[in-house]
């Protein structure tokens, strides 16, 4: 997967036609073969742009920053990224007319060690679902859009669910204890755009300000429930976590429960779909309620 040339051409064209103010893409990080996001504000830097299977970070995250608000932005999105973009559009955080979206039919990206990322192995929507221009061949996985591809349950979730309660409790206690509450997960998540996050507010901090394990538990649980039915599994949070916590467990758990019980589509696949918590069906399971 290498779209470096195409993306450079598109960026050059967009700047030449005066269609955008900023182009968000990837560049080499300058010391090894990994890449970092880059915001390009003019044609002079276009040669920096690259796109390969090392283009990992979800660039939609940059749509919530000062650098892009109220500007015309061009950006590159992979399948998962485009789903988060869809949610940003649905939730009125960005205006579609201000964006020029280069969609990628993503064959999967690799982590720092060259291993294919787990979310790519389990990816159900590799094609970008919102774009102005689509690069690459459509991959069969996009059938999920019509529901013909079965839901893939995350292997870690399945493994943990098998374990006895006490083991799970002990495992997660270590997870929450290892959290240093830097909130990097939140800041790197494209869908955490709130003007002021609930866990930073006075009401919450009054009971929750410390960096204790219990506070980390509260913060991460609340966070994952706020992303339930919205998380697109781009794993920006996990990449950002300095403690390398398996944050995807929480999200994938919610996703699998939602998918299984409410027959919902994957988050952000359908434009206008706000996610499972913002609608209901009379047929939702009722058997867990006395």
């Amino acid at each position: 997967m290498n779209y470096t040339k195409q993306i450079q051409e598109i960026a050059a064209k967009l700047f030449a036609e005066g269609k955008i103010d900023v182009f968000v893409g990837y560049r080499m990080n300058g010391f090894d073969d990994n890449q970092v996001p880059v915001l390009i504000s003019g044609p002079q830097d276009i040669s920096k742009l690259v796109f390969t299977d090392k283009s990992v970070f979800n660039l939609v995250n940059y749509l919530k920053t000062d650098h892009t608000r109220r500007k015309r932005v061009g950006l590159v999105v992979k399948g998962c990224d485009s789903r988060s973009l869809n949610l940003m559009l649905t939730e009125s955080q960005v205006k579609r007319e201000n964006l020029y979206v280069v969609g990628i039919c993503c064959e999967g990206v690799v982590d720092d060690d060259g291993q294919r990322m787990q979310n790519c192995v389990e990816c159900m929507v590799p094609d970008a679902v919102v774009y102005d221009e689509l690069l690459g061949e459509t991959l069969s996985g996009s059938q999920t859009l019509t529901g013909s591809k079965p839901y893939i349950v995350n292997v870690d979730i399945a493994a943990l669910a098998e374990k006895p309660l006490t083991e799970r409790a002990a495992y997660f206690e270590e997870v929450f204890e290892s959290c240093i509450r830097c909130n990097a997960c939140r800041h790197s998540c494209p869908l955490c755009y709130c003007a002021k996050c609930c866990i930073d507010q006075e009401t919450a901090t009054l009971y929750n300000g410390a960096n204790t394990t219990s506070a980390a538990f509260h913060a991460l649980m609340t966070w994952s429930l706020h992303l339930a039915g919205r998380c697109v599994d781009c794993r920006n949070c996990e990449k950002a976590c300095p403690s390398h916590l398996p944050l995807h467990l929480l999200h994938k758990q919610n996703e699998s429960v939602i998918f299984k019980n409410f027959q919902e589509h994957l988050a952000g696949v359908n434009p206008g779909d706000r996610g499972a918590f913002y609608k209901y069906s009379m047929q939702d399971p009722d058997d867990f309620i006395m």
């Binding site: 009125s92 955080q93 709130c194 003007a195 009401t203 706000r274």
Partner: protein, 657 residues
């Protein structure tokens, strides 16, 4: 710094016998914010309220906790006491130590006392976060919408209009009148249904305060009590009512014949028709489904014969909007279809008819000019079997409830049969005879004597054909034997069922309905004409099966409610509504999406102080908000709070024990 006063009630012995009240008071006094705590025999009594009033002034209290019975019982009482002392009434919290402690833990005084202490602590903690709230006043549009033009809708419309409040009356069919217009005589007085109804129908048409919109349906209701906006679809009638004189030339000449709904298909009407001779408005409409001019473009006779030129084949459905303040729902009922009773041969034997069909036959303006006949051969029946509870009180095939009116109308039918066919004999299969009502039991008794009808207590198990007769086999439970009756005609007293459109209407009005499809009242006993949605009222069978007097009473009650609602220029409303903190709102509009009342809209505010850049935030319409808190719980940035149930209040409660 909060200064809380706590008042613990003995409730006579109700609390004091099972909870150590003085100990609760001692415990509560340990809380830092509690500046005054006292116990008393009856806090709700006048001296009890006096104590609250005095303590507020004397101890400069900033919030009050009353530990007594359920807040659903006396919250209003104590709020008033706070008001009287010049304190904002919403600074009150009630700790429910009677229903939630003393009455349910009568065997363990220590546990009940401990729990009462915790409940008090929770109430104190919540009250510290209480804020001053003020009743909301909302302007009112003084115009009512009545949906349904049966006797319920007619009565409600007339009563409201007589109070000089404009009414919009929407009727689905071409004429008002409803089911009552199909009846011959009414029980228990046997006065002619048409004679008492039609004058009212004419009144509706001529009333200066009533706007009658027949042949129309409600499409959409927006807004909130006092300020609704309704969209009404006026179906195309293809006849210009303004120019039509109602002469009748068109329907006399129309060549297309269609089963007549008014007579339940017992005879035919034309494709252009007035439902019945006394219809109001007495103007014909074209049945677009059957008119050959509209379906195939051939014919056009009615337009040719119409001298005023009122026929307009190009007419389209029209959407009209009205601003209204209240709604009366009076959609009536449907007759239950007895198809599931296969063992009776329903559908197979022509001589089995429903009660309403019988009613039409014996009606002087009916298809048979008032004489009951057998549909199979047109002969006048001699032996007629009436079967009651067809569909009613039958969990297996029909509906669980009693339809209430069948006992009475079947009695009436035996009388009518006796009147019309003197040598006839009526047999009545019944489960019970329910004749509660003024003059009802007397009516039944007299009918049994006068008609000499044979009453058989029991269910009919089978009906089969023998020659041109119907053999009705059933059990006479009183003698414990199977009986067989040879009948010329069988009349089924079919159940009353909810209109099939009710659920859809309920959804678009935003009110709830029960499992049968009847609209739900706000309280079965104390608020039987209101719905849970403020400003929407129920009249007649749309709520449950009713007879005419009950329906009329409820309709008049609705009118009284509407008039009461419109008594002032503004309405007062509970201040427990959501509020939005613009600073935290990120404008995702999820709240707009989940609000069941459409109470949330979007607004533009400056990005920062004095900034010209605008961003979108949500905005609550206080008048519409009912205070459910759905939006609060889904707001991720906690920008919304519900007055009276704010996050700090609830969290204070959680962590206080």
């Amino acid at each position: 710094m909060a200064r809380v006063g706590v008042f613990v009630c003995f409730c006579g012995a109700n609390i004091a016998d099972y909870v150590d009240v003085p100990q609760v008071v001692e415990e509560v006094k340990r809380i830092k914010e509690v500046k005054y705590a006292v116990e008393y025999k009856y806090m709700c009594s006048d001296p009890g309220q006096g104590m609250i009033r005095d303590a507020i002034v004397q101890h400069k209290l900033t919030s009050i906790v009353v530990a007594a019975c359920s807040p659903r019982m006396h919250e209003k009482t104590f709020r008033k006491a706070l008001s009287d002392a010049g304190m904002n009434p919403y600074l009150l919290e009630v700790a429910n130590i009677r229903e939630h402690s003393s009455w349910v833990h009568q065997k363990d005084k220590k546990a009940a006392t401990d729990k009462a202490m915790d409940l008090c602590r929770m109430a104190v903690a919540k009250s510290i976060a209480n804020e001053q709230l003020h009743e909301i006043s909302v302007p009112v549009t003084k115009r009512a919408l009545v949906i349904g033009g049966g006797i319920a809708g007619i009565q409600a419309a007339l009563d409201i209009a007589d109070a000089r409040i404009p009414v919009v009356l929407v009727e689905k069919s071409p004429s008002i009148g409803g089911k009552m217009a199909q009846l011959d005589e009414t029980f228990p007085t046997l006065d002619c249904s048409q004679c008492i109804l039609t004058p009212k129908m004419v009144d509706v048409a001529s009333h200066p305060y009533i706007e009658l919109i027949p042949y129309a349906e409600v499409l959409e209701l927006q807004g909130f009590v006092g300020n609704y906006k309704v969209k009404i679809k006026k179906k195309a009638s293809y006849v210009n009512f303004k120019t039509c004189t109602g002469c009748g030339a068109c329907w006399q000449k129309c060549p297309v014949k269609v089963p007549n709904e008014y007579n339940l298909g017992l005879d035919k009407r034309k494709a252009i028709y007035t439902p019945f001779p006394q219809a109001v408005p007495n103007k014909p409409v074209i049945d677009a489904e059957h008119c050959t001019m509209l379906t195939k473009g051939k014919c056009g006779i009615c337009a040719k014969v119409c001298l005023p030129g009122a026929i307009d084949y190009q007419m389209q459905d029209e959407i009209i909007e009205r601003e209204i303040g209240a709604v009366v729902v009076a959609t009536g009922y449907d007759m239950w279809d007895p198809k599931p009773y296969e063992e009776y041969g329903v559908g197979r034997f022509k001589d089995i008819i429903t009660s309403l069909e019988f009613e039409r036959m014996v009606s002087a303006n009916g298809p048979t000019n008032g004489v009951p006949v057998r549909p199979s051969d047109g002969k006048v029946p001699k032996n007629v079997v009436f079967i009651k509870c067809v569909g009613s009180r039958d969990e297996a095939k029909g509906i669980e409830y009693c339809s209430k009116i069948c006992c009475m109308y079947t009695t009436k039918h035996t009388i009518l049969l006796h009147h019309k066919v003197h040598d006839s004999h009526a047999y009545v299969f019944y489960m019970d005879i329910r004749a509660a009502g003024k003059g009802y039991e007397e009516f039944v008794k007299k009918a049994q004597v006068d008609t000499a009808a044979t009453y058989l207590r029991g269910r009919v198990s089978k009906i089969y054909k023998k020659g041109d007769k119907l053999m009705v086999r059933g059990e006479d439970a009183q003698i414990g034997q199977v009986v067989e009756v040879e009948a010329d005609l069988v009349v089924l007293a079919t159940a009353v069922s909810a209109p099939k459109d009710n659920p859809e209407l309920a959804r678009l009005l935003g009110i709830s309905y029960d499992k049968y499809g009847y609209m739900s009242e706000a309280h079965p006993k104390l608020r039987p004409v209101e719905t849970a949605k403020a400003g929407i009222f129920l009249a007649g069978c749309t709520q449950a099966p009713k007879d005419i007097p009950e329906t009329v009473s409820q309709a008049s009650a609705c009118a009284a409610k509407v008039c009461g609602l419109f008594a002032g220029d503004t309405m007062k409303k509970d201040p427990m509504v959501s509020t939005i903190n613009n600073e935290y709102c990120s404008g995702c509009q999820n709240c707009v999406n989940v609000c069941p009342y459409g109470a949330i809209v979007t607004d533009e505010v400056p990005v920062g102080h004095g900034s010209k850049d605008l961003r979108t935030v949500a905005k609550i319409n206080e008048g519409v908000c009912q205070g459910c808190g759905s939006c609060v719980a889904i707001c991720r940035s906690m920008a919304i709070n519900l007055a009276g149930f704010t996050d700090p209040q609830i969290i204070n409660e959680i962590v206080s024990i």
